[in-house]
């Protein structure tokens, strides 16, 4: 599996061209077109049944496609079976062979490797060390914990030095603490080996934490493909905005549109002008709304003044989280409560329900959906 091409940073590793997949009448993938760059940590994010796992499996070769093209490193994968593709996979169930030892599992893919047994044993030991399982080689695989199985699965895939490592919800079976630890380890590991990682996940936080770029999928289509920050700050539809983090929506009326700049009137916020990059146009929606994240609004305590804009509001619900306090507030003139979050820095009071207060905000943090 040697390639003459150098895997430079911007080189395309995987290319989907109008990929469709049908299961009988069910249209699982609806015209996927996307490129994944070499060396990138790429995530496929979406609710269950959105086609993200199917898309991953078309890369691995476990799933054929009905039409379109899947290319890996410039080669069409149409007639290339899974066992010769330059990809390796970490399965959701880890798929550790229960009848083999840890060592035998990790070395499984080296069976046809021409290297000597001693060299292979060395490679296995190195792979185990890389995933933090040094000295576990002789253990029976079925006696491992979930986190350890995960590591064995990683070592087993990475030992073959694939061009692409596919990860199918690898952290979903772990508890919260273990999951967060593995997230950090996976990021480090990816930087260390420089292989393209493609992660399938339904956990938006996991995708934001780990990825260089994320494709958000709904119903067999990619809704938005962007880096985590763009995805969070400038979601291109209400659906994406809803799926990633929390977003508040306020109904808005569009007054005028000049050179891409849109003037809107929203209750609670008043009259605003938004830049073109703050405007998302989703097909098929008729009503417009303003969206903003909970942390983009700040409560003004006595004596504080807003640097940009301020509005009057009433506290209707308070949820105290220790490091954060979540408020539901009603902006003056509105009926729907909006979620607002404040970091509990030292000396800052927690407001009671019913308190009349003022909130500061900035038009730049708003997004217009229509």
């Amino acid at each position: 599996m040697t390639s003459e091409k150098s895997t430079a940073a911007d080189q395309t590793m995987i290319e989907f061209k109008d990929v469709h997949k049908y299961y009988g009448d069910y249209h699982a993938l609806r015209g996927i077109t996307a490129t994944i760059k070499a060396g990138e940590f790429f995530s496929l994010l979406g609710p269950s049944g959105c086609g993200k796992t199917t898309l991953l499996r078309t890369i691995a070769g476990f799933e054929g496609i009905s039409s379109g093209v899947v290319m890996i490193d410039g080669k069409d994968m149409a007639n290339v079976p899974a066992n010769v593709r330059p990809t390796n996979m970490v399965f959701q169930s880890y798929a550790i062979f229960p009848h083999l030892t840890v060592e035998q599992n990790v070395g499984f893919g080296l069976r046809k490797d021409p290297r000597s047994a001693a060299e292979k044993a060395k490679a296995v030991a190195e792979a185990l060390e890389m995933v933090g399982l040094k000295g576990y080689g002789a253990r029976a695989a079925h006696a491992l914990s979930g986190g350890q199985r995960q590591r064995v699965a990683l070592a087993r895939a990475l030992i073959l030095k694939p061009k692409v490592l596919l990860l199918d919800e690898p952290l979903s079976a772990l508890d919260k603490k273990m999951r967060e630890q593995m997230q950090m380890e996976l990021i480090k590991l990816q930087r260390q080996v420089g292989i393209t990682f493609i992660l399938v996940t339904h956990d938006q936080e996991e995708a934001l934490v780990m990825s260089d770029r994320i494709a958000v999928m709904f119903e067999g289509e990619i809704a938005q493909l962007a880096d985590p920050e763009t995805l969070y700050r400038r979601p291109n539809s209400r659906k994406v905005a809803d799926f990633i983090g929390t977003m508040n929506f306020l109904p808005a009326d569009i007054l005028s549109e000049v050179d891409g700049k849109v003037e809107v009137e929203a209750k609670g916020f008043g009259r605003l002008t938004l830049d073109a990059e703050q405007v998302s146009v989703a097909p098929g929606s008729s009503s417009a709304s303003i969206g903003f994240r909970p942390e983009t609004l700040t409560i003004l305590f006595d004596g504080q003044t807003a640097t940009d804009r301020e509005s009057k509001a009433e506290v209707v619900e308070v949820v105290y989280y220790g490091d954060m306090t979540y408020y539901d507030i009603k902006l003056e003139g509105t009926t729907e409560p909006m979620r607002l979050s404040m970091r509990n820095v030292f000396g800052r009071p927690v407001l009671d329900i019913g308190t009349q207060t003022r909130v500061a905000w900035s038009p730049g943090a708003l997004v217009l959906f229509r």
């Binding site: 079976p81 899974a82 066992n83 390796n88 996979m89 399965f91 798929a95 069976r111």
Partner: protein, 268 residues
């Protein structure tokens, strides 16, 4: 007291089930030709007589040939069917599997008469081979029942992982699937062998001039003086059956433990 009634019922049930079998060794070691209490004295003469009966040896040899053949053939068929039913979806899968499992509940005598009619119709002479055919028919559903559990407890990702790591479908089956279902295969071989060894009706109808062990035993009951010998033989067969089934269950459980599957109940 409620618990007392249940306990009494259980004890009575177990006596009803196993007392006749316990009588077998008792009279097999009893120094009398009549099967009645009180016992006369201890002897192993009846076991000794088993050695001197060439007809018995011939029947035993037949039974072993039939048992081994039926076990191997029905286990092979069982592997195909359970692999297909656990791995693939195809039209009419449920009714097809149902039809394959039907001999499990169909009266053996119906099957035997039907097979006999067909064999006579196509002019195939009755022999050990025809008994093997009949026994395969009876044994295959048992084999499928055992092996389906083994195949279904396998994570399908295991096979995909093997492809992913460079193996072909054939080598993936050999390196991953086969070792994991091997305990189930051994269990199936032992149980189908035991079933074939004990089977009477098929053998009675389809053996022609040949004898199998159960048919021979049935024949010997015409001679009252031979009954204690038959009880001795029966004792050996019971012990052998228990040993075989226990071994089979051991392998079935070991297989489940290996794959980490859930125990959904076997035959023991």
């Amino acid at each position: 007291m409620k618990g007392g009634w249940f306990r009494g019922y259980t004890i009575f049930y177990l006596i009803f089930l196993y007392a006749p079998i316990i009588l077998l060794p008792i009279f097999a070691f009893n120094n009398a030709t009549t099967i009645a209490f009180p016992l006369n004295g201890f002897t192993t003469a009846w076991f000794g007589k088993l050695w001197d009966d060439p007809a018995l040896h011939h029947a035993l040899k037949n039974s072993l040939i039939i048992g081994c053949s039926a076990a191997v053939i029905s286990t092979c068929l069982g592997i195909f069917a359970s692999r297909a039913s656990s791995r693939y979806t195809f039209p009419f899968k449920t009714p097809l599997m149902g039809l394959i499992m039907l001999p499990l509940v169909m009266p053996d005598i119906i099957l035997a008469v039907a097979l006999l009619t067909v064999l006579l119709g196509i002019g195939m002479p009755l022999s050990l081979f025809t008994v093997i055919l009949g026994h395969v028919l009876v044994c295959t559903p048992f084999s499928i029942a055992i092996l389906s559990a083994a195949f279904q407890s396998l994570d399908q990702s295991l096979e995909e992982a093997a492809y992913d790591l460079g193996e072909t479908p054939v080598s993936a089956f050999r390196l991953v699937i086969l070792p994991l279902v091997l305990p189930g295969i051994i269990s199936s071989l032992l149980i189908t062998f035991t079933i074939s060894l004990d089977e009477f009706i098929m053998a009675f109808f389809l053996a022609g001039n040949e004898n199998t062990l159960p048919v021979y035993i049935f024949g010997q009951f015409r001679f009252p003086q031979n009954v204690p010998v038959i009880l001795a033989l029966g004792t050996i067969l019971v012990c052998l059956s228990i040993a075989l089934l226990a071994t089979a269950e051991y392998f079935r459980r070991r297989g489940l433990a290996k794959t980490g599957g859930k125990d959904t109940g076997g035959f023991l």
